[in-house]
Symmetry: C2
Subunit: 197 residues, 2 copies
DNA sequence: TTCGTACTTGACATTATGTAAAGTAACCCG
DNA sequence: CGGGTTACTTTACATAATGTCAAGTACGAA
């Protein structure tokens, strides 16, 4: 029974996570999070300097709990470039729905908070590196379509897999998360993989 | 000299437009707009019910001044489906940079204001109809790649041409607006146009 | 001259974030 | 047992921006 009772910091992060998920990142005030965590609003500031800070910590917390690093790392063990591309898209694409609420909140404060902008940028840079690695793997298999420079291919894959793109296709166009992943895999192969014949 | 002196409403819209463009839609308060227009902050509320209302009116104003309707309509006169696709992408893709500041501000308030969300949605629906028309033109030319259902092709073209996509490629990846348009045209043809041989 | 329209001025309400300070309750250590 | 530290509560206040309200002014038209 080491962890039947979470410490306060974790309770706050759990509360923030839950509310962000329930409300898709909207209408989650500091006071709401405090109430959900069962503490006073002021106590939040004993653990986090400000709202942006708390949001950033929440994404890190989710990353830890969900083990995204391990999931993305797994995609790097694939044998061929094509398998690696598929595995990466699968890993990241199925992770997006799990962070969508917090991601949306973070994207919203990003406009007004430099720290949040930086935190978001770093996360997206990590995704970009995954894209980069997948494209490089294709290239070393001689499977990268010659019509792309590497950088352009990375820009494009990265944009295809952006949270905003996922948002538009699933929220506005009604695709399921699986359809997004399947489509992205197909499209990436069609775009980047050369057909040797 | 019918219009050397603009009426107040137009001066407000011009002021809002200028500031949104200068500051890319960020840090533009009602008081800033009032100051730029040379009137009191309260006078804004004599012309617009609230901030969202003013933003919406500003986009309509820009649309009128820039004549986007005419530009998009022109793409409908193209002879072939492929030319029509190209012309539509050209028209919309070169319009995005002209509205980016206001679009960004509108996207930001969209999260908290139902009217703004509705206004944005309507504009994007109009773009979607353009995508729809271009895909339909391809189809009636027998040039639509059979691997797509029409709806999926529209979803995809619409997402490729979203403001968020434009934003990521130009702001984060450093593409020029022209590169975005050229790439979009190439990519749309590659994706949607069947090769008859 | 008077009336109405458009704008100004100044005061205030609201909402959310964030700061500050004093009080309390539990717990550990000597 | 007693004193101090830690974590949290309570209450009060500062700030920024939007939006409301009401009284005052200036100017043009009938």
């Amino acid at each position: 029974m080491s962890s039947t009772k979470l410490d306060t910091r974790s309770r706050i992060l759990e509360a923030a996570w839950k509310l962000m998920e329930d409300r898709l990142g909207q209408n989650v005030r500091m006071s709401d999070i405090a109430a959900e965590a069962g503490i006073s609003r002021q106590a939040l500031y004993l653990h986090f300097a400000n709202r942006a800070d708390l949001l950033i910590a929440t994404t890190r917390y989710i990353d830890d709990v969900k083990g995204i690093d391990a999931r993305l790392a797994a995609s790097r063990t694939s044998a061929s470039g094509i398998e690696r591309l598929d595995a990466f898209i699968e890993a990241w694409g199925s992770y997006i729905p799990e962070i969508y609420g917090v991601a949306r909140a973070l994207l919203a404060v990003k406009d007004t908070d430099a720290d949040a902008a930086e935190a978001w940028s770093q996360r997206m840079q990590a995704v970009r590196e995954g894209c980069q690695a997948a494209i490089a793997a294709l290239d070393s298999d001689n499977a990268l379509s010659p019509e792309w420079t590497g950088d352009r291919a990375v820009d494009l894959l990265w944009t295809m897999l952006s949270v905003r793109n996922w948002e538009q296709l699933t929220q506005d166009c009604g695709w399921t998360a699986e359809e997004f992943v399947d489509y992205s895999k197909r499209q990436a192969k069609r775009n980047f993989v050369v057909v040797h014949n």
